[in-house]
Symmetry: C2
Subunit: 404 residues, 2 copies
């Protein structure tokens, strides 16, 4: 950890023991860290798989994806196959406000990391398991990874409905969203603890969380009719995409009557506001194919900037489409601090990400950058009450491998 200011924010002072890896857990604890929690990332001696799986970096174990998901955290590597390693884990768990893990149930029991085991010594602990599947259902022992959950929970099916064959969204989408959901559940349990004095156990199942996400949107008519269609046709329409202009693309959102009628005027077709296919929200919903086709055909005559100005003048919601490279060049993101130039102690000059949410009672977001493997081992052990001699012994052996 660098010498920069520790995290500030609404979760300031909360100690999180983070036994997670790859994306679902790190996305969860990133949110907590961004809001001021002290996150101790306990890694296996070989380190979080994402260190290598997330793309090349100056150092071989500091992938860009790892860097972005792990800023503001501290790292200690511990070999949990040793009794001494499990002792370190137990001591850190006793002192934590939150323990979060995405290890499978069997592995947790073998390590003694269950709420039942920890609760007597730390009754204020919020114990969160991010599971693949809820324990009350038949899949509870099945493996869960992002693409497996995308395939099962309807994300791949929704894209398949549009594209003709199922496909995964080009994100670690279910991990990432479930991680955010878990951060909220943990925060809610911390709130409840302030009132009850007691921690609790939370289970955040990826599959149910993502089925909930998909079905709120796409249960559609089958909500009421067991034979009715699923899938909201408005968002599953093949033309639900940025609209090509003369020189690029623009995204237009004209949902209310006022917006749709202004759009008809902007494209020189004011008479369409009296067309029974398009003259109300419900009519445009019923004729969404024709509405989207009409929109797509209308915009090829002018440039993105010309349409953007025209739509702004008429108060029609629209903004130019951006590539990922374009996104990184949007001055707005630099003005708001979402993007910033940083210098990582080992990786050098880099573009970093700030906290998107602002809190009036929190200062600016100035977290340290993501840690090298076990970079904070000695500091974490000292805070946990280990003596200098004990720390030297742990770091000298194979229990807590020294920093890379």
């Amino acid at each position: 950890m660098s010498g920069r200011a520790a995290g500030q924010g609404p979760l300031s002072g909360v100690k999180v023991l983070d036994l997670t890896a790859v994306v679902v857990g790190p996305a969860c604890t990133l949110t907590l860290a961004e809001q001021g929690a002290q996150v101790i990332k306990l890694e296996a001696p070989e380190g979080d798989l994402l260190r290598k799986l997330g793309g090349p970096a100056p150092s071989p174990d500091m992938s860009p994806k790892f860097i972005h998901f792990n800023r503001g955290k501290r790292s200690i590597a511990v070999d949990l196959k040793t009794a001494a390693g499990r002792g370190v884990l137990a001591r850190l768990a006793e002192q934590a406000d939150v323990l979060v893990t995405n290890m499978r149930g069997g592995a947790l029991e073998r390590l003694g990391i269950t709420w039942e085991a920890l609760r007597p010594r730390n009754p204020r602990l919020v114990f969160c398991v991010i599971a693949g599947f809820g324990r009350r259902g038949r899949h509870h022992d099945s493996p869960a990874y992002d693409t497996i959950i995308q395939g099962m929970s309807g994300f791949a099916a929704a894209l398949g409905r549009v594209l003709g064959a199922p496909r995964f969204a080009p994100f670690v989408l279910c991990d990432h969203i479930t991680g955010i959901i878990a951060s909220q559940a943990i925060t809610a349990a911390l709130y409840a603890r302030e009132r009850s004095g007691e921690g609790q156990a939370i289970e955040v199942p990826m599959y149910e969380s993502m089925a909930h996400f998909v079905l709120t949107e796409h249960m559609f008519r089958r909500t009421f009719d067991p034979k009715g269609p699923t899938g909201d046709p408005r968002v599953m329409n093949p033309d639900a995409k940025p609209i090509p202009t003369k020189d690029g693309y623009i995204a237009v959102s004209a949902n209310t009557d006022a917006q749709a009628f202004a759009f008809f005027a902007a494209i020189g077709r004011p008479e369409l506001q009296d067309d029974p296919r398009f003259n109300s929200v419900a009519a445009r919903f019923r004729n969404v194919d024709a509405y989207f086709t009409l929109r797509a055909e209308a915009l090829r005559s002018r440039t993105t900037a010309e349409w953007a100005a025209e739509f702004r003048r008429r108060e029609i919601p629209a903004m130019p489409y951006a590539t990922i490279e374009g996104l990184l060049e949007d001055p707005h993101l630099w003005e708001t601090g979402l993007l910033r130039r940083e210098v990582h102690p080992t990786e050098g000059a880099m573009t970093g990400l700030g906290r998107p949410v602002t809190f009036s009672a929190a200062g600016p977001d100035a977290l340290p950058l993501a840690p090298r493997l076990s970079a904070d081992a000695a500091a974490v052990l000292a805070e946990a009450g280990y003596t200098e001699a004990e720390i030297a012994a742990l770091l000298g052996g194979a229990v807590v491998p020294p920093p890379a």
Copy 2:
């Protein structure tokens, strides 16, 4: 509201005044309601646009999407164009723990709904604005809707990278994810309030939140090199999809060496574990195209069930792909209570959704179903301290339209 049990959970007792509509705000307050918060949904006299925009239902203003995003909430319609309506709003805001809105800044100021105005009378209020864009950046006044943010923030671009032309994900994805992010931020501010005694103002900008989501995953090499490539090739690979079998599709996730080597054995190609293209995590990352192609070619010979059994035996993470209809038939989701048969007071028999997350200190999730427009007007006004005569006057005029 039906006579069923009020919400239980970690946010039990929290009063939320919900001035949101469509998806981003309702997704936020759904999470809060599921965890026990009392959510009062204050709607315009014509009701939340999602009542009609979210698909057909037995009643014309109870779309399935509205139903799923608004369970556990109570509704009161108030005409905020009248002084009396603004008086109702002010009184409800004085008594709330949380006020959340996605109205634009100018509209809020005209209604007197700003943190500066409310704070003196309710210093414990958590005031959350879900904005399109953060106030410190140049887009702060621009319109924001889900597809506009998908187009700007790299979601459409990431799909475009895979498909050849940008397209929106077939979900109200940015609204939905930002709503979950906002629920976490609000919960964190409630936690902080328990310690400081004071509320605070929160700004959750959709654009920055979604740029953060996309760039954690896809800033990639450009993190370190201003000319380097963006986009994680592993998830942007054109073959990142469920793999066709003899009779369907299966999702396979073989990331570690042990999993990948077991997969090579399962498909009868054990020698590939010594192939320099595939013999390590880093090697498979470099040769992800060849790895995915090889996987896709291998599975056509057997059925999904045969492969699922084979992979289970070898501890290779894999699960069958499901359509949205298939998802609704998975017994696991009924066993865990995520899916349940319900009877809505006006819409009749329906399939409802439960809370995916479980809390050990909370009882079962048994929330009332989504309200008809203004169904709870009288009860909400009575709780706010209005007399019977005042309530009758408000309901008799145009300020608080009577229930549909």
